[in-house]
Every structure is written in C-alpha cells, then in structure tokens.
Symmetry: C2
C-alpha cells in the first residue's frame, strides 16, 4: 500500500492518511527493508570512506566523518587501501556494489577510471586531503604549501641559512606540496634548498645524520615533511647525540600527541583532520540530499582549502 508514499514524503498524500500511517509505523516499529529498496535501484543509507590507512590522522578523519554520518542516520563503510593504488581500485569496485549514497576518498593514486564510473552512475564524490586523479570531484584540502612555507620561514627568522628538508614519499600529493612550500620559503630568502626526500627508514636517517655530523657545512636546521620523518629524525639525532635545537633546530609538518613530551617538544605545522573531514562529510551530504530531493542543479563543484597552524614549542629554538 501507499505507506511508501509517506516514507518517501511524496506530495500527494492527504494529511489525515499520512498521520494514520505515521501512527501505525510508530506502533509497529516498522522500518523499511534496505535490501528491497536497493533492489529497486535506490542507494543504501551508507557512505563510503576510502583512506590509505587508519593511522592517527585518518582515524581522526574517520571519527569526524562517522559523527556526521550518524547525524544523518547513515553508516560509514571505511576501507583502507594500504597505500596501494591497485588495492584502491579493487576496493572501489567492491564498494560500488554496496550501492553507497556517496563517497569520500583520500586517494592512494588509482587512475581515476573507477572513480569516474562511480560518479557517472550518479554517486557524489568528494576528495579529501588530496585531489583525486582523473575526475572532476569536489575537494577539501589543506594548505600544505603555505603551511610548509610558514614553518620554514620560521626557521629562517631564527637566522638559519642551511635548512635541510627531510622526508620521503614524495610521490604523494601532500608531501610534494610541502616540499614545494619549503622551496618557496628558501628561494624567497635567497637560500639554497637542501633536499633529502627519500629517507624512509631509521637506518637511512641515521646515515644522513652521520653525514651531517661529519660535514663542515652541515645544516643547522631541518624541516620534516611528515610525522614519521619527524620521529625518525629525532630518533637519529638523539642516537647521534646531536642536541635539538642547539645543534639542529627542527620544525615538522603534522602534529602528534607525543610531540609535546619529546625530550625537546617539537614545533610543528598543525593541520586539523577533524575539521577537513567534517567539512568534507557535510559537503557530501549536501550533495546526497540535493540528489535525493531531485535538484542536482545545486551541485556545482566546490574546493575548500583549510589553513594550518604553526605550533611553536621548543625544537625551533624558541623557548
């Protein structure tokens, strides 16, 4: 019967009928069967969230997304790709079968064909933290470049001339942007960039620090492009008995819980996972709802950029 109309708030229902139905629903505790709705082509009350992994940063993102989803009475289907483009592709395929209502993606670099398919089948897609390749999707990003620039400039203001940039994973968008920011700051001050952007293990980091220790023109400061690099560098400096900030000043990109507790509390460029994730989720639901209510007109592309904060602790040389 036309309970359906009430549930989908179709206009043509007499108020009295609607009321009757509502009461019946309340009394019987009825709730529509999702499987049946999906069979008729509707989407499930589920959104997808694809992330490289659930490290600190992305797990904060997940929490924020889930919170928004719950508020809209949706479930969140999270999928971690292990930073593999191939896995991402496969996961997108299987997530598509779940008839999700929308997708948030922190891409691991798949080529975007699958994503395009998803979009073309009418599912709103919002890129989070990194723009997605090969598709015109909305994106909610962090000002990586500006943030890095600010961090490095802070070191420059401390009088440093030889500032190294240390990290790895420069294939990833965020890291690339941060390196770009570093270069901008250096060039802007007439300084020569010193890049070590392929240091991904403690051994490699220790070798690097050893080389620094031996050089006469060694860097007096370092900017690390991601959290792990900060940790590795601190570890390596510690092993090599180089003091922070006296021997080497450090500013890192991305904050973490223990940054304050380290031997020398770490000065960092902080980004807010919660903020970008919440914004992205809300943007996604705006589109989902626009779609449900049949006004795709309002769905123009959006690109949101969130600024970072420079959190000054002691590793930069400030007290």
């Amino acid at each position: 019967m036309s309970v359906s109309r009430v549930i989908n708030n179709h206009p043509s229902v007499k108020a009295s009928t609607r009321a009757k139905v509502m009461k019946a629903i309340a009394k019987t505790g009825y709730s529509p069967n999702d499987a049946a709705r999906m069979l008729k082509g509707r989407t499930a009350r589920t959104i997808g969230l694809v992330v490289p992994d659930l490290s600190d940063f992305f797990s904060s993102c997940f929490h924020a997304v889930q919170e928004v989803a719950i508020r809209h009475d949706y479930q969140t289907l999270v999928v971690a790709t292990g930073r593999s483009a191939a896995v991402e592709d496969r996961q997108l395929e299987s997530i598509q079968k779940h008839q999700i209502a929308g997708l948030l993606i922190v891409t691991s670099g798949s080529d975007g064909r699958r994503l395009k398919l998803l979009q073309e089948s009418g599912i709103p897609v919002v890129a989070l933290d990194r723009p997605a390749h090969g598709v015109q999707a909305d994106a909610v990003l962090v000002e990586n470049r500006e943030g890095a620039e600010q961090g490095v400039r802070h070191l420059i203001e401390h009088g440093h001339k030889r500032i190294a940039c240390v990290g790895f994973d420069s294939g990833s968008y965020t890291v690339r942007e941060r390196i770009e920011g570093y270069k901008l700051a250096m060039r802007g001050a007439g300084l020569k960039p010193i890049l070590s952007t392929d240091v991904s293990t403690l051994e490699a980091m220790q070798a690097l620090v050893l080389r620094w220790a031996a050089a006469k023109d060694r860097p007096t400061a370092a900017f690390t492009v991601k959290r792990i690099s900060s940790v590795l560098l601190i570890q390596a400096l510690h092993h090599q008995k180089l003091r922070v900030p006296q021997d080497i000043a450090v500013v890192g990109f991305d904050d973490f819980e223990l940054a304050e507790v380290l031997g020398t509390p770490l000065t960092v460029v902080r980004q807010s996972p919660t903020e970008i994730a919440r914004s992205a989720a809300e943007l996604l639901f705006k589109k989902i709802n626009a779609l449900r209510e049949g006004r795709p007109a309002e769905m123009q592309r959006a690109k949101m950029l969130f600024p970072t904060d420079l959190i000054i602790r002691r590793s930069c040389g400030c007290l």
Copy 2:
C-alpha cells in the same frame, strides 16, 4: 536459470554445465546482485567490527581484520562507539539492518541484549579484546593480568618496594585485569599495593607526582595501566624534574611507536593487536563458513588467550 546453483556451488550440477556457466560468467563479467540476495534472506558479504574508537591499538586491529576479510572477499563495516554503551547499542541496531554475516566486537559495555538478539538471529559473534556482557560468545583476549604481573614483577626484581599503580578507566575490563595483575605481583612479594587508578588528566597526574615528590615514603617505581597513563606520567615526571629511572622507574602496559624515542625509552608490556585481531577474524570466518555450508555443529565456543611480551628498554632501570 540455474546459474545460481553454480554460484552457490550446489552439488547437483553436471561438470560440463558448470564449466559452461563459468565461462559465461567470465565473459560477461557477471556478478550476483547483493541486494537481491539479501532480499532473499541471505547475509551480505560484509562483517561488522565494533570498536570503542580507532586509536592506535584498534586501528591496528581494523587493518588486520580487513586484511582477513578481503582474503575471504568480504567488506568490513567498522563502527566506533566513542566508548559509549548507548552508542554501541544504537550502532548494533543499525548494523543489524545491514545483514552482516558476522560480528567482531570490542565492547564498550552495552548490556548485551542487542548482541543476544543478533546471535539468535543466527549471526556469529566473536568478542575481541574484552569479553562481551550478557552473551555466550567466543572471545579472543589478551593475558592482561599475567602481563601486568610480569611487568610489576620486573620492577620488584629491580629491588623496588614501593611501586605505585597509576591509571584510570578502571571500569573497563582490560584495565581492571591489569590492576588485578599488579596486585597479584605485589601481594606475591609481600608488598603493599599503592593505587592511583583515577588519574585521567595531565593536571591530576601532575598533582599526584607533586604529592609523591613531597612525601618521604614516595614510590620509587610506577606501573601504568594504559598507554595514555604512561604518556601522562612521563610528561608529569618531566615537568617535575624527576628523572626516569633514577628517581622513579616506570613500566607501562601497551607499547607505542614513540616509546623508544622518549627521553628515557619506555619499558613496556607489549600486546599484539594484529595477532589477536587476525585470530578473531579468522575464527569468525570459520564460523561464517561453517554456517554457510550448513554445519553449525562445528561451532563450539572458543576462547583464545594471547600472551604479552615484556619489552625491556631503559625506564625500568635496566642497562
């Protein structure tokens, strides 16, 4: 037609027919519609994972679970309760509608009625990290008590007599067990337990440490029952200029990435999230598959206990 039989590998299919169907499936890229299957009462190829949050420990669990799930060609629907029993209850309700094939739960303390319902509707449930209340479910746990006991005993072997136990959240099963282990070790050595099991903020921790510093009979060692407590304690000791391990030796429960990098590398009782999560997931799939293949006889309850490792660094006084 009876493509269905092939897909569900029903016995009565002639080999030649099966081959033909297989080929056709391969050629057309056919894949069964999950929604339709669900409509017929089957479960989705999805398992549920309910966790309090996705902090380090549980996100490792998630990764392990997802890996196993993918191998079985299942998706994982993760849900974080924010450590709230009420939210857990609500989430279980909505997860149930997704017709999951099985559930892994790190309970946040809901009363177990909903869980029982799930079980009675034929969905295998495996408790992870903590036994679930009010249901007879399989459980994969860590030897919290024994691990704590071992950690504390190590401090005792260093000659400490006044060893404090510091932490909070003693409402949770794991913490309770660890405190129990601490008490066992102390009593076993004829020592008096010194409990501060409600210290959840840095302020409270600093107040505690201040009290210690002022006391004549102050503890010479401390055992922290969870990661955050270890971090808080280290922070507070650091602020108070108490040296580790000279002034206070420390052993913590639960390892973390930066434990090695701390001013004094932290000695910890390590548990392996990956191991317990993988085992739990595999147990769950064993049951799911037993069910699918119609032999619920093999589904006797299992309880698995995983040991911990004492990772000796420097905060205990070794080296």
